[in-house]
Subunit: 255 residues, 2 copies
Amino acid sequence: MMGVLSQQQLDQVCVVLVRARNPNNIGAVARAMHDFGFRHLRVVNEYAVPFATARSAVDASDVVAGAMEFDSVAAAVADCTLVVGTTAVGERALLHPLHALPEAAAEIRGALELKGRVALLFGSEKTGLSNDELSHCHWLLTIPMKEHEDVRHPSMNLGQAAAVCLYELVRETGVHAGVGVAAAAAAGEVERLKTLLTEVLEETGYTRRHPANSDEAQIRRLVLRMGVSASDVPVWMGILRQVLWKARGAEAGKE
Amino acid sequence: MMGVLSQQQLDQVCVVLVRARNPNNIGAVARAMHDFGFRHLRVVNEYAVPFATARSAVDASDVVAGAMEFDSVAAAVADCTLVVGTTAVGERALLHPLHALPEAAAEIRGALELKGRVALLFGSEKTGLSNDELSHCHWLLTIPMKEHEDVRHPSMNLGQAAAVCLYELVRETGVHAGVGVAAAAAAGEVERLKTLLTEVLEETGYTRRHPANSDEAQIRRLVLRMGVSASDVPVWMGILRQVLWKARGAEAGKE
């Protein structure tokens, strides 16, 4: 009685918990993963403690036992071609495209059909994902919730939010396309592109003239919005290297 | 951003917890109800203790505060026109029709449209609903889950199961556009971007070094594949103009 995803596709999904504080919540996320057949849990934590405690949770022990720990969001998503952040609407001014869960799940299933590895990020219980963490995301997902007049920031319990998202991913649905779309670049490649573009912006004086457009997260989002394919990465890298070579020549020429 | 149910319809749904043992789970169910706009919680307990403890839960306190206590399932569902039990498949020989959650939710929404009051029963964490309790149900609902060979009785955490069921009840079935998805750039803007990029490629020497990558149609396709939004066009134009200014400075410097 499972949804449209094969075990191989389930294994292309990484659930990434960023700064989760409560070991019970980490255990609950692992249990939901187990319930719906997902196996790859990644944890980005400042502190090792909550995760170590969660390791002793009784449920879904295979998911927790196999979990990987990372020092940064960048490292945790480096091999992923699609990085999706979860957020409560209204949490902050959104700088990313936002999809309600049903469409988001359809998009993610499309990426899985194209053999991409997808990271689904959940932030800390108190604060969600920071703007810097969100800057690693191609787009954001939100679970539509009731708006209560007395609550400024609606948000779900972490374990429940994960259960709802994973349920929607495996929920049986109709046909969806996605044929003929080029394979997306992995986040690590996008990050290298961002780094090279940043060098170009600095070398050409753009950063000095437009400081308001030039912080790291902005450049990362700009590059992510390019939606660059794996095969276009070397083309853009080649163009940027040539620009950099020329710009540095300009400096040398002046001297 | 709510689903197809009006508040009146949400209020026709009663979530009935039968012999829930863990106050945290009662609190979690109440929180999920609050998140999705449901307000009527009913509790059937042999012991008053867990519910009294749950009353002090911080989340969804209005739902818990308004909860009604009953001595029996019969009393708890007496005013309901449709009684649906939740069950994990394989728990026992099923004597009732069983629907997977997506169809079950559609059935329930149909009953709500006909002004019926619907009870959604969840059993105890350990044993689920007993045969006697199930006998009050018109039919049963199950959340499709992964079958694990090593687990005889797959079952979800109570709070997570409630969250998934209630999400499905309010899940928006129609398509709606993502909030904040940027408007695509017009073809004329993409063409201007292509022209400026071509100047950059010529000025930096890229065209001479990579003639095979540099014909006009290739550059246009490369730019089109960026899928650039209307709001990103001026950003990229600014970057390319700065690069061009620098590259021309390099020529001037050399002379």
